[in-house]
Symmetry: C2
Subunit: 475 residues, 2 copies
């Protein structure tokens, strides 16, 4: 097996090599940027979906599914939105052997599919809030370089769409989404920063956008999700209004919350190392791999003990795979490390005799677990692993930010820049030019950097009404 | 509320009314035949998917997901298959603002998406069997009348695709699929018959097809799933071959197994009645609805007791909904019966005082459950309900078949016809003409009809090599 490229100095090469080596996707499909979810990759995705479903349903959101095809006339109703998307949508123009009367757009996102129906569902203030979400695939005719999970043309997508009585209620829904995301990110052991995007980088049609960014080394960042407040920008063209308790007709205020398979890319990018992928237990296709080390001798030997261990852990609900194949144990260790399994249980003659298993986690920490207390000890070992994984990620996360005090420092900057900004578009663009990247926006949560109050704008020098902002080079 | 049309005499009207009244889908979307999965309908679908996933994974099949778009050149490789589908596919011809070099088909089924990749995955006999499945949406430009769940243009679809070493192994996989389906149908309380389709009604590209049919009244039938043996019909054009242990290159034999949201239509059609939908507990969006009947008096009264009951049942893993709204109890009973919830728990003053709940199942059977043994008694009540539901369905199923001994009897026949057939296409078509419907094929399992050996063909009168066959009018 070839060694992986160096993560620190050749991140993209390393990333692509890990995705291949861990067998998470097959890129050889006949349409560029549309990849095959292999069984192993699909399981990671299934468990990611479970995390998203659990957290969003805990906030009172209901699952729905709207059609994938959107009639051209509905698609065109919100002008900013269509401007933002029309260069990157797929068009269905033929059905069977004839041209369609009205061409159909393969959904790039579902505002324009959902909102004509929302206008039918929402009649009275008693119908509000309407909080629904769907997990579907979306399609974007991506012209930039595609990369598995990070930028693809068929995207596994989570989108919540809500209707609220007014702007304040919609603001509260945005906050609720930020909280839900913090729970999801915790399960994925992903430190991130929530950033209010500048005006010129909002979602097409949004009043404001808050995005979740993670640093991925040398000043690059990856947006891993976003929440948008639409005010009445869509409800007016789509006619989503309700009769209030005072009898007045009012337009709803809307919000959306979007996530995608990019979270799998983020997990790989943040946790992966020179040995391959590293999965937090919440999304790991298998949480535990059980490997017998064959030897002859009295029964029950390693194989029978491994079968017992795997069955007991499965009965406890732990996703456990028994690798009883005829490869050498070392080759198995190597492969399952590459594939990022959190915990490996080795069972040789010594373990079978002493009724133990040797546990090794993906961070290389070892423990001997007693089969008497197998289930509880493995669960504890997994919990410790997840905490250690998060701690390691948080330590790296903190190192990726640096405060800068002049535009000159931004040239070739190899960290995410933390800087002071007056809020003007002019100064924002000056920062973007200086760093050859983007002004990510203003943090919505405190950064773990012990910052003082901001004083003067890094660009124009203005004092007062100055805020902290982040700048980096989005991947 | 308007009464439902009569199921016996106006089945289709009744069906459409039930789908609407139970709020399972919204048909007002802007593309005909593409419907919205409402929250309630989506939950039924989620639980249906869980049944399919559980049973297919128990047979060693792994989940995958292939792209929704198929390049035109791959789509055209198997000639019978493309002939069977080209009049009903959607074509993507534009990406962004320009025409695509190679048009893309929105998958109507995934043979042509998967098999070029299978050719890469299968190298050696050690890679076999390859058993994978996906649950995705497929798209068909349907020209017949569309009906929710039964015939739609965007179809929620289950498809297993397998590669086997030879024809016998593929035959065994077909049998394994038939067994898996029998488990699924049991969970759905659906009696069905597995029928080997005649040559002229095979899936495009299949060597043979076995379909699952259910009678839906007055001689009509609904195909609710199918299993196909492809032999080498696809593996040759797609080059899916392996090196056998003797060093020879051999083409794999393939099978597929297809199911869809039509199973929800089947559940409605079979179990539904004049009060609305009726769900078996395995797929019911809610298994239990808890309804407090408000009254003033000492605490804990009905409301507090209902909260306790709902929380305890949820903790036990039962899908439980507490309906504490301010409608009259009678209106709630009516609505949840319409929506097909298996068990209703009524809690009034009397129940709160005596620490009981009055349980009523969707078949109208009553019991008093003690809160001391709430969880176990409700589980038992649900189990009894599922068995009674199946028994009721089986009794109706048996009544829908009638043996006929002459073609004359088939004119305007109001049952599924059981007849003797020599196997010739000519006699098959004679049957189809006589019944103004289809020869469904030959049953693969014994029919619950106590049939003797078949004697002579109903059409040509030939004796010997004669088999039982079914004929009906597919919906």
């Amino acid at each position: 097996m070839a060694e992986l490229p160096d993560k620190a100095t050749a991140f993209i090469d390393w990333y692509l090599a890990v995705v291949d080596a861990a067998n998470l996707t097959d890129k050889r499909y006949g349409v560029k940027g549309m990849n095959v979810w292999t069984p192993y990759g699909f399981l990671a995705r299934r468990h990611l979906d479970e995390v998203m479903v659990r957290e969003i349903e805990a906030t009172g959101s209901s699952p729905v599914e709207f059609p994938a095809l959107i009639p051209a006339n509905e698609f065109a109703k919100e002008k900013e939105h269509i401007k933002g998307f029309d260069a990157q949508v797929y068009w269905v123009t033929k059905g069977g052997l004839s041209d369609l009367d009205i061409p159909l757009v393969l959904r790039p996102t579902s505002e324009t599919a959902m909102y004509p129906i929302f206008a039918l569902w929402v009649r009275s203030h008693r119908d509000l809030p309407l909080n629904v979400y769907q997990i579907v695939n979306t399609f974007r005719y991506e012209t930039k370089t595609t990369r598995p999970f990070m930028r693809v043309r068929e995207i596994h997508f989570f989108e919540e769409h809500t209707c609220q009585v007014d702007e304040a209620a919609a603001d509260r829904r945005v906050r609720s989404n930020l909280d839900a995301f913090s729970q999801m990110a915790k399960a994925l052991a992903l430190p991130y920063v929530a950033v209010r995007r500048p005006e010129w980088d909002k979602f097409p049609g949004a009043a404001y956008s808050i995005a979740f960014d993670i640093p991925v080394g040398t000043g690059r960042t990856l947006q891993i999700g976003s929440v948008h407040h639409y005010r009445e920008n869509f409800s007016r063209p789509y006619g989503i209004q309700y009769e209030d308790s005072d009898g007045a007709q009012r337009f709803v205020h809307q919000t959306t919350f979007g996530l995608s398979e990019r979270l799998i890319g983020a997990i790989l990018a943040v946790h992966g190392d020179q040995k391959g992928a590293v999965f937090p237990s919440a999304v790991a296709p298998y949480e535990v791999i059980v490997i017998p080390i064959p030897s002859s001798g009295p029964e029950p030997g390693p194989e029978a003990t491994a079968v017992e261990v795997a069955e007991r852990l499965r009965a406890k609900g732990l996703r456990t795979h028994l690798d009883a194949g005829d490869e050498r144990p070392g080759a198995k260790y190597y492969r399952w490390e590459l594939q990022g399994v959190p915990v490996r249980l080795e069972i040789g003659r010594r373990e079978a005799t002493s009724r133990t298993a040797t546990a090794v986690d993906r961070l290389g920490r070892k423990a001997v677990v007693s089969l008497d207390r197998l289930e509880s000890e493995v669960e504890q070992f997994l919990g410790d692993y997840d905490r250690a994984l998060f701690d390691r990620a948080l330590a790296k996360f903190r190192e990726e930010f640096r405060v800068v005090t002049s535009l000159d420092e931004l040239k070739g900057f190899s960290h995410v820049a933390v800087l002071t900004w007056c809020g003007s578009e002019e100064c924002g663009h000056a920062v973007e030019t200086a760093i050859d990247g983007g002004l990510l926006g203003t943090p919505e949560s405190e950064l773990p950097l012990g910052l003082a109050n901001p004083d003067r704008c890094i660009s124009c020098g203005k004092v007062g009404d100055v805020r902290w902002a982040l700048a980096g080079r989005p991947l």
